[in-house]
C-alpha cells in the first residue's frame, strides 16, 4: 500500500471543492446553496491543514482553519436568518424567485 502523501489530501479537497461549486451553481433551494458553500469552506480547510502538516510545519495552518470554521459558523447563522426572512416575505426559498431587488 502506498504511503499517505500531500497529493492524496489535495485531490480529496479538489473534488470536495468541485462538488461544492456544483451545488452552488445548480441548486435552486437557497439552503442547498448554503450547504455548497460549507463544502467549499471545508475543502479550503482541508488544504490548509494538509499544507501545514506536509509543507509548512507548525500550527499556523491549523489556527487559520480554526478561524475559517468560526467564520463559516457565523456565515451560516446570518445566511439562514436571511433565508428565513426571504421565506416569510415570498413563501418560497427558490433562488430564482428572489428578484425583488431587481425590479
Amino acid at each position: 500500500m502506498p504511503h499517505l502523501a500531500l497529493g492524496h489530501f489535495l485531490v480529496v479537497a479538489a473534488l470536495l471543492f468541485g462538488f461544492g461549486l456544483l451545488a452552488v451553481v445548480t441548486r435552486r433551494n437557497a439552503v442547498a446553496v448554503l450547504m455548497g458553500v460549507e463544502l467549499i469552506l471545508n475543502a479550503a480547510n482541508l488544504n490548509l491543514v494538509a499544507f501545514g502538516r506536509y509543507v509548512a510545519g507548525g500550527i499556523a495552518g491549523q489556527v487559520f482553519s480554526l478561524f475559517v470554521i468560526v467564520l463559516a459558523a457565523a456565515e451560516a447563522a446570518v445566511g439562514l436568518a436571511i433565508i428565513l426572512a426571504i421565506y416569510q416575505m415570498l413563501r418560497s426559498i427558490d433562488t430564482a424567485r428572489a428578484t425583488t431587488l431587481k425590479e
Binding site: M1, V31, G36, N45, Y54
Partner: protein, 167 residues
Amino acid sequence: MPSSFAIFVLLALATLLGAAGVALSRNIFWSAMGLLACLLGVSGLYVLLAADFIAVTQVLIYIGGVLVLIIFAIMLTSQIRDISVSNSSMGSVGGFALFWVVATLLCFVALWAPWPIASLPPGQGSTAAIGDGLLGRWLLPFEIVSVLLVATMIGAIVIARKEAKPD
C-alpha cells in the same frame, strides 16, 4: 491492523459520497444527511493529519451547530412530508461541465505541482500549541473574531425576527 492508507480511502469515500449527495440528491433532507457524512469524513481526515483539536472542533461546531441550524431551516421552510422536489436544480449540463473542468484542473495542479515537501517529524497532538498560540501570537484575531460573533448573533436575531407592526 489496517494501514493508515486504508483508513484514508474509507474516509475519503465517505467524504466524497456525502459531498456528491449534497450536490446531486433530489431530496433536500438527504442532502443534509450527505453533508453529515461529508463533515464526519473530513473530521477523520483531520485526525489522519494529526490535527486533533481541529477534528473535535469540526464535529462540535459543524455537526453540532451548523448542520443542526441547516436542518432547522429545512424544517421551517419546506414541507418535509412531500418528498417530491424541494431541491430542484437548473442548468445541470453547464454545472457538470464546470465541475469537470474545475476538478480536473485542481487535481492536475495537486498532483503535478512541485510542492516543497518538508521532511517533518510525525505529528504530535496540537491542542496545547494552539491554546498557546491563540492567547499569544494570534491574540488580536482571536479577540476580533469574538466581537464578530457577537455582531453576527445580534444581526441574525434582528434579520430573522418577525417585523413588529407599529400600532
